[in-house]
Amino acid sequence: MRASQINRTVGFLRDAFDEASKLWWRFFDWVAVVEWRQLMLTWFFVVVFLSLLNMPEPAMWYIFGSLAIKTLAGGKRKAELLAQEATHKADVATLERRLMEARMAALQAQIEPHFLFNTLALIGQLIETDPPEAARVHAHLIEYLRSTLPQMRARDNGTLGKQVELSRAYLAIMQARMKERLQVRFEVPMYLHSSPFPPMMLQTLIENAIKHGLEPKIAGGTVIVRAFVLGAILHVEVCDDGVGIDPHADDGVGLANIRERLQLLYGDAAELIVHAPLDGGACATVRLPYKMMEGA
C-alpha cells in the first residue's frame, strides 16, 4: 500500500515537472519569437496590473527575465527562418533529383534495347509483309521518341494532353506487337488536356498494366485510361482486366517513385491509389488538385 502510494506520488511529481517544463519552453519560444512591440505591451500591462496589487517586484522580474530571453534567444527566430528556407531548398533539390531519376528510369525502361530492338525488328518484318503497317509503326516510334527525348530537357510538356499523346504512341506500338491481345480505350475529355500533369506517371502506370496485368494473361485484355474531375480533384486512372495483383509481387520502384514525387509536388493533397476491382484486373489512380490551365 505504502509503496504504491509513494509510486503514485513520484509519478504525479514527474508528470507535474514534465508539464511545468513544457510550459516553460513554450513561454521561452513565445518570448523569442514575439515582436518587440507586443512584448513591450505585455510589460506595460504587467506593470500596471501588479502595481495596482502593490507588487512591483514580480513585474520587474518579468520585464528583466523576458528582456534577457529576448536578447539572448531572439536570434532563434532568425535561425528558424533560415532552417525553414534550407529545408525548402533541400525539398526542391530532392524533388529535382527524383524527377531526374524518374526520367532516367523512364529512358531505361522505355527506350531500353529490348523495346527498340523489338520495335525495329517489327518494322523490318512489316516492310516485307505489310508496308503500310510498317509505315504506321515507324511513325509511332518517331512520335514516341520525339516526345520522350525532349522531355529530358523541356519543362513545358507537363500537361495531361502531352502525356496522353505520348501514351497513345507507346500503346500503338505495343498493339502492333500484341495484336488483338491488347485493346486500348481512352476516356480523357478534351477540356482536361490542358490541365497540368506530371510527366512519366501515366506511362509507368500503363507499362505496369501491360507488363504485370495483360502480358501474363493468355487472352490478353483491355487497358483503359480515364481522366475526370470530382470536386476539385483531378483523377487519372489506368485500369486493366488482366491477371490482377499478386500480393507477393514487389510493387517495384515505378510506383514508389510516383508516390514520392506526388508527395514532394503536392504534399498531402495528392495520392496514388491502387485497387482491385471486384470483376478482376487492377486499377491505379493518381489524384491531385485540379487546375484549369498550366500555370494558372
Partner: protein
C-alpha cells in the same frame, strides 16, 4: 533416325511466340534459309505450344522463352523427348548467361538470317535431331534462371483492405505501422488508416522481417520510417516515426532492437 541414301528427309517445325509479328518474322526467315522445312503449327502461348507440339510432333520446336500460360522452358520440358528444342529470347542478360553455360540451341531476337542458317545447318547435320541430355540441361537452365533472376522473396508486398465496395491494395512500402485493435488490425499510412482482418501474428509470418519490426505485443513498425527513439520520464522507450505525429511505445522485451541506435 535412319535415312535412306539419296532420299531427302522432310523436317517439320513448330513456332511458338506470343507476338504474332515475331512468328511472322521467324516463319519468313525460316522459309528463306530452309525452304524445305515444313512449318506444321504455330502457337501463341505456352499451353498451346504443348498441345500443338504433342498433336503434330514436329522435329523442331522454336520456343519463345517469355510466353503467357507456360514459359518456353516449361513447355520444352514437356516436348524435348519428341522435338529438338530451339529457344528464342529477346535481350535478357539472365537468360543469355544461362544459355552460355549450357549446350542448348538458342536464337537471339530479332532473329538474323545468318544465325538462323547456322542453327538449321547444325540440326540437319545431326543424325538424330533429338538429343538425350536435353532433359538434364533444361533442369539446369531452370535452376540457373531462378538463381540469376532477381530473387522473388515470397514476402507479402501488398495489403488488401476493403474500402467501401472495392478492394484497396496498399503497398507495404506505404505502411508506417500495423497495430492490433481488438478484432481488427489497424494499418497506418502517411495519409490514411485502414482496418484489415488479418491478425498481427499472420502479418508477422508473411512480412519481410527486415522491412517490419515488432516493437510491442500489438505493434509492427516499418523500419525505414523510424525517426528516433526517446525515453519519457517514466523510463518507457517511445518511438517517433517520419510522417506521423504520434508516438509508439516499445515494450521492454523489444528494446534490444534499438540498443545500437
Amino acid at each position: 533416325m535412319s535415312m535412306i541414301p539419296g532420299e531427302e528427309r522432310i523436317y517439320t517445325a513448330m513456332i511458338a511466340d506470343d507476338e504474332a509479328p515475331m512468328r511472322d518474322l521467324l516463319r519468313a526467315r525460316l522459309q528463306a534459309v530452309w525452304p524445305e522445312l515444313r512449318i506444321v503449327a504455330e502457337a501463341a502461348n505456352g499451353v498451346e505450344a504443348v498441345e500443338l507440339g504433342e498433336q503434330h510432333r514436329p522435329d523442331i520446336a522454336f520456343l519463345d522463352i517469355r510466353m503467357p500460360g507456360l514459359s518456353g522452358i516449361e513447355a520444352a520440358r514437356r516436348l524435348y523427348r519428341q522435338s529438338h528444342i530451339v529457344f528464342a529470347t529477346a535481350y535478357d542478360q539472365y537468360a543469355l548467361d544461362a544459355f552460355e553455360q549450357g549446350a542448348l540451341d538458342y536464337l537471339l531476337k530479332p532473329v538474323t538470317a545468318e544465325r538462323l542458317a547456322a542453327t538449321c545447318a547444325r540440326i540437319r547435320a545431326q543424325s538424330s535431331p533429338i538429343r538425350e541430355d536435353v532433359g538434364t540441361q533444361l533442369v539446369r537452365l531452370t535452376e540457373l534462371l531462378e538463381k540469376k533472376a532477381p530473387p522473388s522473396t515470397g514476402y507479402l508486398r501488398w495489403i488488401q483492405a476493403q474500402v467501401g465496395s472495392s478492394l484497396r491494395m496498399i503497398s507495404t512500402r506505404e505502411v508506417l505501422f500495423f497495430q492490433s485493435d481488438e478484432k481488427y488490425t489497424r494499418v497506418q499510412t502517411a495519409g490514411a488508416e485502414y482496418l484489415i482482418r488479418k491478425t498481427l501474428k499472420e502479418l508477422l509470418d508473411e512480412l519481410d522481417p527486415d522491412e517490419f519490426w515488432r516493437i510491442h505485443r500489438s505493434t509492427l513498425v516499418r523500419v525505414e520510417a523510424i525517426a528516433e527513439v526517446t525515453r519519457d520520464l517514466r523510463g518507457r522507450h517511445m518511438l517517433r516515426l517520419r510522417n506521423y505525429a504520434g508516438e509508439l511505445e516499445i515494450s521492454r522485451n523489444h528494446t534490444y532492437l534499438f540498443q545500437q541506435m
